[in-house]
């Protein structure tokens, strides 16, 4: 690699050619303030917060996009630089709705932090402001244009990474706004509710629909049996909201906190993930044996499902008919569980804690009521749960509860890794391989499908059969993979797709890490590691060995794919038009 040497604030640093001044400064342990910059996602030099002086240059330059060169002399703290940055920030703040006291991002806001860091004590000018309406019609996402600083990170995420492209920069000058066309609500355009725009927003302009009040009410109601079910990815990230290092699994802290909040039962969605594997694995084997529609594509990511309904209707028959683990679990709780425990299903209130904003939409799909009751009553994101724990003043360090409650108990390691990209595939392969061969696997780790590469492929020999599998995460990668399948360029038996880059661990409902962290640390791998660690530790690592799942088949469903299972655990999909004519 060709290297160049430069000095930053008289500190010598040697970095690869092609680095930006910002990257070089980081190597030299000098922090340059940034606002619009998000590595690999938004490198457009728009906000001018990162101005630096470069010896010989006519004007100040933006460090986040300016390339280094041999012998360059960079100064990051000259009076001119300090003044320019301050003025830039003051201008941004002057027409910002500065209601920090009531803002969901207060304390975790990149703009607020900059104002503190640059010691803005008063604003010399009061800019003209728009008072724009809040877009809160989507079941998942709230847009507050008054808080938007036009950094465009969300646009890059939605358009370039996810290829959904429902928000863009519209109008111009003072009227510029980030919005869907005709300033429609996100609810009226083909937004898939993935929430990735929220996780990149530096401020409080995008957030999830807050459903915590409904949960407080349920917890306070005397006659309700309130159950919390938690997705695998929660334990891998919830700790970040309470100061734990990234990648620390906090399973028992979480279970304890949920009980302290007053939930009657705390169950693990991974149990339902194991159930999903039984159903989906059977579906795969049947389709292969009976010449059914292939490739079979996973259906647990509701952002992906809506994307498919809008953009790839020709693949709807390829989707597994399995409901997602969340919905399966709800259906089981309101039928088998209600019956066995002697509780009126009308009095069971299921709160699912998800790393995902699209799950809020999924839970409201009209077809998700096969028991006669909504499978799931409320979906909370990881962030909403953290807020409830903080509001209740609960000590998150307490770990008096080590296990999920009976009768569902702890799940298998296969269920746990559902939260990372490739996890569903790996879990399915573990089970399918053993079912086909009737032999225990010598190694349970299918490492080809792990990791953060956009599209992963594996060919697995099981008995006489060769299963060709592919994994895509992030909708842009999903689109690429599907185009390949469509053109006949690639052939698979089984495809796993997750809407969010990295899978659920980096879902749109997970704790938000500022650019200063996520530009330099791969949060997807850090959090996934927590899940793989937990999987390794669990006594049971295969879905078909989960005793609760075995019992559910014994007492209720009889076998995977049975009529009863179909009634409660499977669903169907509908093509959706993208921009219907009004």
């Amino acid at each position: 690699m060709e290297m160049v040497t430069l000095t930053i604030d008289n500190k010598k640093v040697r970095v690869p050619k092609g680095y930006t001044v910002l990257q070089a400064a980081r190597e030299a342990k000098i922090e340059i303030p940034t606002l619009c910059f998000l590595k690999d996602i938004n490198e457009i030099g728009a906000c001018r917060m990162c101005l630096v002086e470069i010896k010989g240059a006519k004007k100040l330059e933006t460090a986040c996009v300016y390339p280094v060169s041999e012998g360059m002399e960079v100064y990051t703290q000259t009076p001119q630089v300090r003044e320019a940055r301050k003025v830039t920030l003051e201008l941004i703040l002057s027409n910002h709705d500065r209601s920090c006291l009531t803002c969901v991002r207060s304390g975790n806001c990149e703009l607020q932090k900059l104002a503190e860091q640059l010691q803005i004590e008063e604003l010399p000018y009061e800019g003209e402001t728009h008072k724009r309406p809040l877009d809160n019609f989507s079941p998942s996402i709230i847009r507050d244009p008054n808080k938007c600083i036009l950094c465009r990170r969300c646009v890059s995420m939605c358009k370039e990474v996810q290829t959904v492209a429902v928000i863009d920069v519209i109008e111009r000058g003072f009227d510029t706004i980030i919005s869907p066309i005709y300033e429609k609500s996100l609810n009226e355009v083909p937004c898939v509710n993935c929430g990735q725009c929220i996780t990149v927003c530096p401020v409080g302009a995008l957030r999830e629909k807050n459903d915590t009040e409904k949960v407080w009410d349920a917890l306070a109601a005397e006659d309700l049996h309130v159950i919390a079910v938690t997705a695998p990815a929660i334990r891998a990230a919830l700790g970040e909201e309470f100061g734990f290092p990234m990648g620390t699994p906090v399973t028992s802290n979480m279970i304890t906190a949920l009980h302290n909040l007053g939930f009657d039962k705390v169950f693990d969605v991974d149990t339902a993930a194991d159930l999903t594997i039984m159903e989906e694995g059977t579906e795969l084997l049947n389709r292969i044996k009976e010449g059914g529609k292939l490739p079979l594509i996973t259906s647990c990511s509701p952002g992906w499902i809506k994307f498919c309904e809008h953009n790839f209707p020709e693949f709807l028959d390829n989707l597994s008919t399995c409901k997602s683990p969340q919905q399966m679990f709800g259906a089981v709780l309101k039928t088998v569980y209600a019956e066995r425990m002697g509780i009126d299903p009308a009095k069971i209130f299921v709160v699912s804690i998800m790393p995902c904003t699209a799950k809020k939409f999924e839970a409201k799909r009209p077809e998700m009521t096969s028991s006669g009751y909504p499978d799931i009553d409320v979906v909370l994101t990881t962030r909403e749960l953290a807020r409830m724990i903080k509001e209740a003043g609960i000590d998150f360090n307490e770990t008096t509860r080590q296990h999920f409650d009976d009768p569902m108990g702890d799940a298998s390691g296969a269920g746990v890794i559902f939260g990372a990209t490739g996890g569903v595939m790996e879990a399915a392969l573990r089970t399918v391989a053993e079912v086909i061969t009737g032999q225990p696997l010598s190694s349970l780790d299918f490492t080809e499908v792990r990791g953060v590469e956009g599209i992963k492929e594996a060919t697995v020999d099981v008995g006489e059969m060769e299963i060709k599998a592919a994994v895509a995460h992030g909708l842009g990668n999903a689109r690429k993979l599907l185009e390949r399948v469509k053109s006949g360029e690639a052939k698979y038996h089984f495809i796993e797709i997750m809407a969010c880059p990295g899978g659920c661990v980096a879902g749109g409902g997970q704790p938000i890490q500022p650019s200063q962290v996520r530009s330099w640390i791969d949060i997807r791998s850090e959090r996934a590691n927590a899940l793989y660690k937990e999987d390794k530790k669990l006594p049971i690592r295969k879905s078909h060995e989960n005793p609760t799942v075995q019992r559910l088949y014994d007492i209720y469903f009889s076998s995977p794919g049975s009529p009863k299972a179909h009634e409660l655990l499977h669903t169907h999909y509908t093509p959706r038009e993208n921009y219907p004519e009004e």
């Binding site: 358009k159 492209a165 863009d168 519209i170 111009r172 003072f174 004519e581």
Partner: protein, 163 residues
């Protein structure tokens, strides 16, 4: 807003065909969006939703990007424009001198909203930001004609001049 309106079917179809030709002409050309929008606007007089949608689907450009470009450049219009384009300035100076009352009067007399166009295609109405003639506030422009120091009661008289 539908292309199946039977009364003007032939007319609409002819425009649709011309749009097809334009899209074909620019197929595979980089940076073609702006010229395509230009020619589409020449065909339709403005850029209605269904035209944006066809361009989006056939050129594989997201709707948001198309809409963003249309609203960025003043040369493009989302609304039909009348033979006479009325612009009421709502800049601060005009506003304090009652420009909003004048705007209301135009709306009432023409029976259209801001952004709308009368059915006979004669007048369209827009509100605009400061036109830089604050000394004349409140200011209204009709095509090239500038009217200053207007009172709501004068609106009717002015419209008559163009009828």
């Amino acid at each position: 807003m539908s292309s199946t309106c039977s009364c003007s079917k032939e007319f609409v179809d002819e425009r649709e065909e011309r749009l097809t030709e334009v899209i074909e002409k620019y197929r595979g050309v980089r940076g073609a969006l702006i010229p395509v929008l230009h020619e589409a606007q020449e065909i339709y007089g403005y850029l209605p939703f269904h035209v944006q949608k066809r361009i989006s689907e056939e050129m594989q450009i997201p709707m948001g990007e198309i809409y963003g470009v249309i609203t960025f450049y003043t040369q493009f219009s989302l609304e039909p424009k009348g033979e006479y384009q009325i612009q009421v300035c709502l800049g601060t100076a005009c506003y304090v001198k009652g420009a909003n009352l004048i705007l209301e009067k135009f709306k009432e007399k023409l029976g259209i909203d801001v952004g709308g166009c009368t059915e006979d295609g004669k007048f369209s109405l827009q509100a605009c930001r400061c036109v830089g003639a604050c000394g004349l506030a409140p200011v209204v422009m009709i095509n090239e004609d500038v009217y200053g120091g207007l009172k709501p009661s004068e609106v009717e008289k002015i419209l008559k001049k163009y009828q």
